[in-house]
């Protein structure tokens, strides 16, 4: 019996050591992009016998933030977070930071290769707390067949405001009743942000103490109301995907993550281009997935080494990830011949990356966005108030959130 017990113990110890270090990575990748990440993780695990990466998926930002908060508090968080950048501000002090030199010297990661706009907000006290891997940039998806039907050049989509409005007006006659050529939910806040930035505005002042969106926000709303009046954009809430997929609507300005499925579903009729400039400023909406390590989970140098080995692997093999429908966060990849040859559609859209604008890194940014959505609904869906009134009320509501936040944070 004693011998048997010893043998069992030895077996357990052996099995325990043979697996090496297990690293958990939490991502929000529930769609087809999750399969791409699974494949990358499998390749890494196959080539790194001492490290096993486990990919855990949590879709909603809210769930992810709650799990991360709980995990940090109880020291049970994942070692690596593959987190949306706008979900990070609450945790900036809780992620492991490195100086740019430390990243480069210790792990071979050159943060100067990342688009500056994408790295913005991730440097805390001179230390980089997260590595952006991609940009989910806005682009224009359009139906080439519909363009051809009304005499528009399918290979030369609109680039400016005037060209865009003219093209949409030309598409109205072939658009079924009840739909519009650009069939998008007018109250989708990300479109409003895209236009806000294209009109030279931003959400908050640099110190996050006051709202700063009214002027450009009014212009963005006016542009959308004008498109609604002309029958280019719907008057009410719309579910855009189905109509675009069926070819009933012709254009969407949307996230790069849709490019892969549209290409497959629409085939040769699918066209893609950079977002047209509808405002006065060259800017384009974009988010990023950022790789970050909760401090409390990488205190052990071996775990830190294993986690950064995987981050470096993703850094080196990022092009496999962009096939899922993301544009590069690294300048050298965005400009590379390899990307142009392997993923020409991603290459085309990523040429706008230097103009990417992202959400400011304020902890209550999602709540502020939700509050602005209330007034966008009133202006663009209910049509119950003017853009001027709506933006004034939105600023008042946002100021209340800011005051409440700063009264708690000293």
């Amino acid at each position: 019996m004693k011998k048997f017990m010893c043998l069992a113990l030895a077996l357990i110890v052996f099995v325990g050591f043979s697996f090496g270090i297990t690293i958990t990575m939490m991502t929000p990748l529930t769609g087809a992009d999750g399969a791409y990440m699974d494949e990358i993780v499998a390749k890494f695990n196959a080539t790194h016998p001492g490290i096993e990466v486990v990919h855990v998926v949590v879709e909603s930002s809210l769930d992810m933030k709650n799990k991360l908060s709980m995990g940090i508090a109880s020291k049970t968080a994942p070692e690596i977070m593959f987190i949306r950048k706008f979900d990070m501000p609450l945790y900036l002090q809780h992620f492991k930071g490195f100086t740019p030199e430390e990243w480069l010297n210790n792990y071979g990661i050159d943060v100067n290769d990342i688009f500056p706009g994408v790295l913005e907000g991730l440097v805390i006290d001179g230390k980089v707390v997260g590595i952006p891997l991609d940009i989910w940039i806005f682009y224009m998806a359009y139906n080439k067949a519909n363009f051809a039907k009304v005499g528009l050049d399918p290979e030369n989509p609109p680039k400016t405001r005037d060209e865009f409005i003219a093209a949409m007006e030309a598409l109205i006659p072939i658009t079924p009743a009840g739909l519009t050529p650009y069939y998008e939910n007018p109250a989708w806040t990300w479109i409003w942000f895209h236009l806000l930035w294209q009109h030279g505005g931003d959400l908050l002042t640099d110190d996050f103490k006051k709202p700063a969106f009214a002027k450009a926000g009014i212009e963005a709303c006016k542009l959308m109301l004008m498109m609604q009046e002309k029958g280019i954009l719907p008057m009410q809430v719309a579910d855009p995907g189905v109509s675009f997929q069926s070819g009933d609507s012709s254009v969407l300005i949307t996230g790069i993550w849709t490019i892969q499925p549209w290409m497959q579903q629409l085939g040769k009729d699918f066209g893609y281009a950079v977002s047209p400039q509808l405002g006065t400023t060259k800017a384009v909406f974009g988010g990023s997935h950022v790789l970050a390590m909760p401090k409390v989970m990488v205190e052990d140098p071996k775990v830190l080494q294993a986690a950064t080995t995987f981050i470096k692997y993703l850094w080196d093999n990022a092009i496999d990830w962009y096939a899922a429908g993301q544009t590069p966060a690294r300048i050298s990849i965005a400009e590379s011949q390899e990307l142009k040859e392997k993923l020409p559609h991603i290459y085309v859209v990523s040429q706008e990356s230097e103009y990417v604008k992202q959400f400011q890194m304020f902890p209550l940014i999602s709540e502020i966005e939700a509050e602005i959505a209330v007034y966008l609904d009133e202006i663009l869906v209910l049509h119950s108030i003017s853009p001027e009134e709506g933006m004034k009320e939105a600023e008042f509501a946002v100021q209340e959130i800011l005051d409440d936040y700063w009264s708690r944070v000293k």
Binding site: K65, S69, Q236, D239, S243, D377, E378, D404
Partner: protein, 303 residues
């Protein structure tokens, strides 16, 4: 002496046995109701966060909620929802209980159809309804209403306040009415048929029979159901969260929806706890009003 000793021993054993029977419920009650209740009260006086130190702030969370311009509109939304949906649910339940109480072909299937939604989880049911009320032309409701000639273009069901509330109330009634139907069916079956027969002979019409026979017989069940429905109405969350996401323009946000936003989106747990005590106070006020009204009506009937 020995006899009294054995008596007290028996009594003690009986006491222990009754406590043992109570124990499973008591443990869960203490763990999942009493402790969280006390804990909720405690954290409502703190600036409570999972990530930073918790700081005692006295009644500050309650004052912030009181002064919050976004809180009172959601209270108003919830009260209006309760005022509209509770009577509607009860009327529909009594109506269908009446119909199902009469023996007819396929009665069991009808009963299953009405009652079964009450036993399904919210996410599955509400996702299906969201698909039915999708705003694109091929959404189920839009497609068939268009085919039948009732609408010309796709309707955005959650694009205007009135329609959004209409859909939420419709789905809520469909979802929860089943259990009430069961309650009223049980109550209706206890009414002696002779009372209806003699009332008929005396010339009482259907409305008078309902008012003077049915209603007094089902009053106790009705009271229980009203209290249950009011508590459910004040806890409205899933429908507003999944179907309308609180829109348009925040007009379908409810008290619990707001609590969820503050607690989980902002991760301001102290403030969320203070909101939950406000909700408790509001529900309590309504429960007391109901209690007074029902007691009055019982006394007046007895008098």
């Amino acid at each position: 002496m020995r006899q009294s000793q054995s008596k007290s021993c028996k009594r003690f054993r009986r006491e222990v046995v009754s406590w043992l029977f109570l124990l499973p419920h008591l443990v869960f009650f203490v763990l999942f109701v009493a402790v969280p209740l006390v804990f909720g009260m405690v954290i409502s006086f703190f600036n409570w966060s999972l990530l930073n130190d918790n700081v005692f702030v006295g009644a500050s969370n309650y004052i912030r909620t009181w002064n919050d311009s976004r809180f009172w509109p959601v209270v108003q939304n919830t009260v209006i929802f309760a005022i509209v949906s509770v009577p509607l649910t009860i009327i529909v339940a009594i109506l269908f209980a009446h119909i199902l109480n009469k023996k007819r072909f396929g009665q069991l299937w009808l009963l299953i159809a009405f009652v079964s939604p009450a036993f399904f989880g919210s996410v599955g049911i509400l996702s299906s309804w969201k698909w039915i009320f999708a705003s694109f032309p091929s959404g189920l409701a839009n497609y068939y209403l268009n085919k039948a000639g009732f609408i010309n273009a796709a309707v955005s069901w959650f694009g205007s306040t009135g329609v959004a509330w209409g859909v939420i109330i419709l789905v809520t009634i469909w979802w929860i009415v089943g259990f009430s139907i069961l309650l009223y069916m049980g109550a209706l079956q206890r009414i002696p048929p002779e009372q209806y027969e003699s009332a008929k002979l005396d010339g009482a019409g259907p409305w008078k029979r309902f008012l003077y026979i049915t209603l007094p017989w089902i009053r106790s069940v009705l009271f229980f159901d009203v209290v249950r429905q009011v508590i459910l109405a004040f806890g409205l969350f899933d429908q507003a969260y999944i179907l309308s996401a609180g829109g348009p323009a925040g007009t379908t946000r409810t008290m619990v929806y707001y609590l969820y936003l503050v607690g989980f989106e902002r991760q301001d747990f102290g403030r969320a706890a203070s909101i939950s005590w406000y909700i408790f106070a509001i529900v309590l006020i309504f429960a007391i009003i109901q209690l007074v009204l029902v007691t009055k009506s019982i006394r007046s009937t007895e008098g």
